[in-house]
């Protein structure tokens, strides 16, 4: 699991960039990609390396949508809420999926199995409404189709 790998990989990630404040976002992105979230230990290490005060790094980590300070679920589902998708009912699709998974809004299920997030536009408007399930585009999704795909992941 990702969390146990933290001691092994984090130093390697930190060493990828020079110790300058301008590399803060690069480092956070790489850590987010490797561990699915940014732990407070990781944030401290990044601050030590780049010389950015922790308060400022925390501000950055909470400002940008792509960073998460909490672990995310095993399966990551993005529902696109871009304009073209919105017109084709993606708002309802997101709501229905979250209701099915017992979520009140975008977030992670208690069993850490799923994280549902909404995204403003994937730039794949020809496929609207579109969702990303673990990075795979699901063109022209409907609520029943998406639920089936998501259910299958849980069964695996």
């Amino acid at each position: 699991m990702a969390q146990t790998a933290i001691d092994i990989d984090i130093d390697e990630i930190i060493e990828r960039y020079p110790g300058k404040p301008e590399y803060l976002i690069f480092l956070l992105q790489d850590i987010q990609a490797a561990f699915n979230y940014i732990s407070s230990e990781a944030l401290t290490l990044v601050c030590d390396h780049t010389g950015v005060p922790e308060a400022q790094a925390y501000a950055v980590a909470t400002f940008y949508n792509s960073f998460s300070l909490e672990p995310k679920g095993e399966n990551l589902i993005h529902v696109c809420l871009g304009t073209a998708c919105h017109l084709k009912g993606s708002g309802l699709i997101a709501e229905n999926l979250m209701r099915k998974l017992g979520l009140d809004g975008p977030g992670t299920t208690e069993d850490l199995k799923y994280t549902v997030e909404t995204v403003n536009c994937l730039g794949a408007c020809a496929l609207a409404p579109v969702a990303l399930v673990n990075g795979d585009y699901q063109p022209k999704v409907t609520s029943p189709k998406l639920m089936k795909t998501v259910q299958k992941l849980g069964d695996e």
């Binding site: 976002i25 940008y64 536009c121 609520s143």
Partner: protein, 628 residues
């Protein structure tokens, strides 16, 4: 990926002449009559399975013993405009256009088209109105009405191969600028071309450059805004995915013109393929000595690096973007000082968007006069639009400025499915507005769109039909901006949510006509008081829909009715007993158990249990579920 010294020594181009010689050799080696298969590998086509088609075609060709090159990895979602009909396969040199190709079709394509020279009828594009089958790319109305300047190479070249780019003339403009022109002359050429920024505001590009160039000596920067955040827009992504060298070349020219040695491309993290292709382009350009020291023997040094965005719409604003590149929170800062005086790391900087940079390459290659001959008096050149929503041909269209809205949507776009008109066309992203059918003959250029209450924006063009509610659309954009507001200045932070809350009430059938007056005064305050364009333009969605669709607002407020059947609190779902087959699909789908009825007999919906989630509507294969 570092290219070793040995590799670069072999490839480096030392001068304009060496570049021209290489291009000549590459062109001579190409046989224009050679049969080639082009498989669209843009994000859209890949999502529809084009990788499987490429594999199947390769296997079928190998089995047939044909030595024909399959060129995958070429295009983007916008590529040929029929992304929703992808995967697309084009057979050169005749440009036979196949759509919705499946791996199972590969054998037939190889046997019939490649070996026997016949077309496979069922894979051809069918005209949406006449039903006529169209054989080649050029004859499809979608392309016939376009004028491709920025998109010219997209779909023609493999974006991961710099040789392909050289063949179609990449870096010719930069070579000319660096070798034969003084920086001042480059700026003059861009001014004379009349190019205005394609990112939204339409500021004259050359004048912006001039402001930064005036600071003599010292560190300066050029930046490329590839944080294409407007929902419903993917022009820049397609350019980066399909022709990344056009962006790199434009930035080299810009760097030379203003005296910058470093460029930054700020790309949305949601665009992994664009980042990959750009990275490859940078590596190749360095290997050929087009980036790095003493480019083409001109003595000019320049290199580019990529910053990935981290998911903040406001970073599309230039000052916020620069803060983000510095590794900080992406909040805008007041202007002046303008970035041309004090930008990235406090140094004079020029930021242009992807499409602008690509245009710069073309202008330097073909000349300012050529570019100034395109478009209208005040809006020169072409504009790429992402035509999406309720339109038959979804995709990227590049048209001369000044073309009528009707031509784009009804002719190039093939019209609105099931209707002879559009209800509204939304342009300019969240900052823009909705234009009604009455404005169908409006010329599309920077100034006409602003006069009509919208704006050019970066080029999203979203077509809406009678099933789309204007109150809902306005509410959608406000919700978007509320979430994306950085929160620094209060007119935006507090004003936008108040606008949205008022519309929320309307969509529940509450509120009064006086609320509309309040919307106007609040909108004025937000416009006047916001720090950056995100807040300053936020009220446009409300103002433009009120201007053209006031009836629809009043229907919500006075009649408690949503004429388009969208606003949840004002609609009811019912089942048409004549059409219902009693298959129970809707009953199984309903999370509330609100659908009842015996198997094989018409079902009914208990309105008191219904939460209007639309699951019954989506699960019905017979169209028996109705929304009113």
């Amino acid at each position: 990926m570092q290219v070793t010294a040995k590799d670069t020594a072999d490839l480096r181009l030392g001068s304009l002449e060496e570049l021209e010689q290489l291009r000549g050799e590459l062109r001579a080696a190409e046989d224009p009559d050679q049969t080639r298969i082009i498989v669209c590998h843009g994000t859209g086509c890949i999502a529809n399975g084009s990788a499987g088609v490429t594999k199947a075609l390769k296997a079928a060709l190998a089995a047939a013993g044909e030595d024909i090159e399959v060129m995958p990895g070429i295009k983007t979602t916008g590529c040929h405009g029929f992304c929703s009909r992808g995967p697309l396969v084009i057979i050169k040199p005749k440009n036979i256009f196949y759509q919705q190709v499946k791996p199972g079709d590969a054998e037939e394509i190889v046997q019939k088209t490649i070996k026997a020279g016949e077309t496979v009828e069922r894979l051809l594009y069918e005209h949406p109105q006449t039903g006529e089958k169209i054989e080649t790319t050029e004859d499809i109305p979608f392309y016939a009405g376009q004028q491709r300047v920025v998109l010219a190479n997209i779909g023609q070249i493999d974006p991961t191969k710099i040789d392909d780019a050289f063949r179609v003339g990449a870096y010719a403009g930069a070579a000319k600028a660096l070798t034969n022109m003084e920086p001042k002359e480059v700026i003059e050429a861009v001014i004379n071309s009349g190019l205005r920024g394609r990112g939204g505001a339409g500021f004259p590009t050359g004048i912006k450059w001039n402001l930064a160039a005036k600071h003599e000596g010292g560190q300066k920067y050029v930046l490329c805004n590839a944080d294409e955040g407007d929902p419903g827009a993917f022009m820049d992504r397609s350019v980066m995915e399909g022709d990344p060298h056009a962006v790199v070349e434009g930035m080299i020219i810009g760097g030379y013109a203003i005296g910058a040695d470093t460029g930054y491309v700020y790309v949305r993290a949601e665009y992994p393929l664009a980042i990959k292709h750009l990275e490859k382009a940078l590596v190749d350009a360095r290997a050929y000595g087009l980036l790095g020291e003493n480019i083409l023997g001109s003595g000019f040094n320049f290199d580019i690096r990529i910053n990935r965005g981290a998911g903040a719409f406001v970073c599309g604003e230039e000052t916020a973007l620069m803060r983000s590149v510095e590794g900080k929170v992406g909040e805008p800062v007041p202007r002046p000082p303008y970035p041309s005086d004090k930008g990235l790391f406090g140094k004079p900087s020029v930021l242009n968007n992807v499409e602008t940079w690509a245009n710069v390459s073309r202008i330097l290659d073909k000349g300012a006069d050529w570019f100034a001959g395109l478009g209208t008096e005040k809006s020169k050149g072409t504009k790429v639009f992402a035509l999406v929503g309720k339109v038959n041909n979804v995709g990227l269209v590049e048209v001369p400025m000044g073309i009528k809205l009707r031509e784009i949507v009804m002719e190039i776009g093939g019209g609105v499915p099931g209707s002879d008109h559009f209800k509204a066309v939304q342009t300019g992203g969240p900052s823009g507005g909705c234009l009604p059918w009455q404005d169908a003959d409006l010329p599309v250029d920077f100034d006409s769109l602003i006069a009509a209450g919208s704006m050019m924006g970066s080029g999203g063009m979203i077509v809406m039909d009678d099933r789309d509610c204007m109150v809902d659309v306005a509410k959608y954009f406000l919700g978007f901006l509320e979430e994306e507001s950085c929160g620094k200045c209060f007119p935006c932070r507090l004003g936008v949510p108040r606008l949205r809350e008022t519309l929320n009430r309307f969509s529940k059938g509450q509120g009064t006509v006086e609320d509309i007056d309040d919307l106007y005064s609040l909108a004025e305050a937000i416009k006047a008081g916001s720090l950056c364009a995100l807040g300053g333009t936020a009220p446009n969605a409300v103002l433009s829909t009120l201007r053209y669709f006031r009836d629809e607002y009043e229907a919500h407020i006075l009649e408690h009715r949503c004429p388009a059947g969208v606003c949840k609190d004002l609609i009811t779902y019912s089942i048409d007993p004549e059409v219902c087959t009693g298959c129970r699909a809707c009953a199984r789908a309903c999370p509330q158990n609100a659908v009842t009825g015996e198997k094989k007999k018409p079902h009914t919906i208990d309105e008191s249990l219904c939460i209007r989630c639309g699951m019954c509507f989506e699960s019905c294969k017979f169209g028996a579920v109705q929304v009113q």
